[in-house]
């Protein structure tokens, strides 16, 4: 077990490194980026950038540093100046970047002349005193480049993560509470009326995108219900601007706990509906499979009550493969319900990610991506451990 964990965690770290490397390079190789808009303005001749401003912006995004050192600076906050060896500064003259490209001849003090493609190179010495994060490995996500320029990314994340956790946690909990019993019952009472209705609804729920259900919910469960004098849902956002009177619920004061709950109710139910439809189908199929097994027949043959057969023998075994699905809740808690948050304009992490990609705020996008990759990897390890708990036949080696 310990051996297994050590190996898995080592593999996880390697995987995490590869992912960060690939994702960082992808984002940074992208044409355009934060400078695209500025350059477009240049072309329009409306806002001419003077060279100083250009240099400053390049330096702010660290675009003057080559990709590799930029990546290591982001990862571990190094190099942040000349390398200090035994109290001596070394390699200060190593070129680590290029501020402006252009063919120039560099004249060295010792008389050498080197033709270079870089008009104003950046040396290791120049990095001294530049603001640099402690590195993402030391849990410093750096500063935001676009959305809230100059503020720590962790601050942005903190402000969004509560809502996302509430959305995802609550909807997963509801989905679990409904899906497990309903999946088992539909399998045990196969071809009953309940089975047909549930399976049909679950089929629709899992074959259509969240986007569809979100828009339908927004369309039919808000304004039309209000006009019909029934309890209705608010159309998106997180709180009302003024007190609203809803039938049955009474008057809801803006920004009260009830108000927040009322606002997340619809998105949570839609998220729960979509995931529980998939889960019901999964559980139903796996319980049906297990009910055909020999050990269930044995349990029946030795005279156990049907209830005991199902609860103790069938369901326990049927839920083992379900672990793989349940652990995916974990990364979802942070990466957010991107589409649902977008439809209901809820300020969660998913919304932040979309904003970060639109606004070319790469440090924010990378932070969210890294956390969700990390949690996905943790979730898979957790699934393996849970497998051994649920099924003693499985041993991790």
């Amino acid at each position: 077990m310990v051996n297994f964990l050590v190996r898995r965690i080592a593999a996880m770290i390697v995987m995490l490194m590869i992912t960060t490397f690939v994702a960082y390079n992808l984002l940074n190789l992208a044409p355009g980026g934060p400078l695209a808009e500025l350059l477009q303005q240049q072309q329009n001749n409306t806002n001419r950038l003077d060279p100083g401003a250009y240099d400053r912006i390049m330096q702010r995004y660290e675009f003057d540093i080559y990709l590799m050192p930029r990546y290591t600076r982001w990862l571990i906050g190094w190099p942040n100046g000349p390398i200090n060896l035994f109290g001596q500064e070394m390699f200060g003259g190593t070129q680590v970047g290029c501020l402006r490209e252009g063919r120039t001849i560099l004249k060295y003090p010792d008389g050498r002349e080197v033709v270079s493609d870089c008009e104003s190179p950046v040396f290791l010495n120049d990095l001294k005193g530049r603001a640099v994060s402690n590195g993402i490995l030391r849990l410093d996500f750096g500063t935001s480049q676009g959305i809230l320029r100059g503020r720590p990314v962790s601050e942005l994340l903190n402000s969004r993560i509560g809502l996302t956790m509430l959305l995802q946690g609550l909807s997963s909990l509801i989905a679990l509470i409904i899906a497990v019993p309903l999946g088992v019952i539909t399998a045990v009472r196969q071809y009953s009326k309940l089975d047909y209705v549930t399976t049909a609804i679950a089929f629709l729920g899992s074959s259509l995108p969240t986007l569809f259900w979100g828009l339908m919910g927004l369309m039919f469960l808000t304004q039309p219900l209000k006009e019909a004098g029934l309890p209705y849902f608010p159309p998106g956002t997180l709180s009302s601007n003024f007190a609203e009177t809803v039938p049955i619920l009474g008057t809801i004061k803006p920004e009260s706990p009830l108000d927040y709950l009322w606002h997340v109710a619809l998105p949570v139910s839609i998220l729960a509906f979509v995931s529980l439809s998939g889960w019901i189908r999964f559980i139903r199929a796996s319980v049906l499979e297990v009910l055909k097994q020999d050990y269930v027949r044995t349990a029946r043959a030795k005279g156990l009550t049907e209830r005991l057969v199902i609860v103790k023998h069938a369901v326990r075994n049927a839920l083992i493969p379900f672990i793989t699905l349940v652990v995916t809740i974990l990364p979802g808690l942070v990466s957010g319900a991107i589409i649902t948050e977008q439809i209901f304009s809820l300020p969660g992490v998913g919304n932040l990610l979309v904003g970060a990609i639109y606004g070319a705020d790469y440090s924010v996008a990378m932070a969210i991506l890294l956390i969700s990759v990390f949690l996905t990897l943790i979730a898979y390890i957790l699934a393996d451990i849970l497998y051994t708990v649920a099924d003693p036949r499985i041993r991790l080696r």
């Binding site: 995987m15 992912t19 992808l26 355009g32 089929f203 074959s207 969240t210 990610l353």
Partner: protein, 339 residues
């Protein structure tokens, strides 16, 4: 010996024919599939949608990007006439007076082709890698396994978003063969090459993330099939690996992949819709069901029928793909069939 020698050749052939026609594997499967009513209905619906999209150019009453900014031409109800030309807008118009029926049939062509191409490419990669890994095992297997692990550990939607955001800003970042661009341009009836490039990038991204499931499935299947007696028999008869793979292993390991393929089609359709909705997928003026739906979000309070127009075919297609997948699963593997 003497007996057969006396029979004329024609009759000998007749005598050799079995009395009852034996059923091939495929006709058995087809018969079982035909019994699945919902799957047959779905297939019919899908064929109708495919047929309309196939003749999109011929039956569309307006040009794809025709627009009319005259306020009188905006948000026309279904079955109303164009104030200028007097032509019928079967499904009404949108916020810039574009004919929704025309947009919808072009969109079904584009959305369905995108889903088909993305799923086909993804399934192809998955089948090839899964077969190699399962059949040869050893070094190839562990490499393929690691790559699958890498791709399936990525959180899907965030990665999809980032990739699409990065790549669609400049579609030329991935070199695409010209014939592929030409093919997409011709299938989707694009007038500009640029539009084909954008769609090609989306197809590339969707297939890049969609192959791991198939590869895993194919590997598991091949691992089982390669141990069966007929493979051993083929090897004993001196068949080389290549012919064993193509004639014995792949055909026998394939059925679950067909089911996964139909379900994958629904998945690609959904993913494309989601991306277009977030404004990072295929964008205006190229119509897709996803971006048509996304555009209606701002106007749906005043014109509640608008979101129903693109969602209806989307709904039909994704339900149809799922039913066909179910039907195929029951037909291909009778052991798992219900009842």
């Amino acid at each position: 010996m003497a007996l057969t020698a006396n029979i004329p050749p024609k009759r000998a052939e007749k005598a050799l024919k079995p009395l009852a026609r034996s059923d091939s594997q495929w006709s058995l499967v087809m018969r079982r599939f035909r019994r699945h009513k919902l799957a047959m209905i779905s297939l019919g619906v899908l064929l109708v949608i495919l047929a309309t999209s196939l003749v999109a150019k011929q039956i569309a009453p307006f040009a794809r990007d025709y627009l009319n900014v005259d306020p009188a031409a905006k948000f026309l109800l279904p079955f109303s006439r164009d104030p200028v030309s007097g032509d019928m807008h079967w499904l009404g118009t949108n916020h810039i007076g574009q004919d929704l029926f025309t947009r919808l049939i072009y969109a079904s062509r584009i959305s369905l082709t995108t889903a088909f191409l993305a799923t086909t490419i993804g399934t192809f990669i998955g089948v090839v890698l899964g077969t190699l890994a399962g059949f040869f095992r050893g070094f190839i297997d562990s490499v393929v396994q690691r790559v699958i692990d890498f791709f399936s550990n990525l959180p899907n939607l965030p990665i999809l978003l980032i990739l699409a955001g990065v790549l669609s800003s400049d579609p030329k970042i991935i070199p695409m063969p010209d014939w592929l661009i030409k093919l997409i341009q011709n299938i989707m009836l694009f007038e500009q090459e640029r539009e084909a490039r954008v769609v090609a990038v989306i197809i590339f991204i969707l297939s890049l993330l969609g192959w791991t499931g198939v590869a895993r499935l194919m590997r598991a299947q091949v691992l089982q099939v390669r141990e069966r007696e007929f493979v051993e028999g083929a090897r004993a008869l001196g068949a080389n690996s290549l012919s064993i793979i193509f004639r014995h292993v792949v055909p026998n390991a394939f059925p679950p992949v067909i089911v996964a393929y139909t379900l994958g089609l629904a998945g690609s359709l959904t993913a494309e819709t989601g991306l277009s909705f977030l404004g990072i997928g295929i964008q205006n003026p190229i119509p897709t069901w996803g971006n048509m739906l996304a555009f209606t979000q701002s106007y749906m309070w005043a014109h509640p029928w608008l979101p129903l127009i693109p969602s209806f075919p989307m709904f039909l297609c994704s339900v149809a793909f799922n039913f066909i997948g179910d039907g195929l699963r029951d037909a291909l593997d009778p052991r798992q069939a219900k009842g």
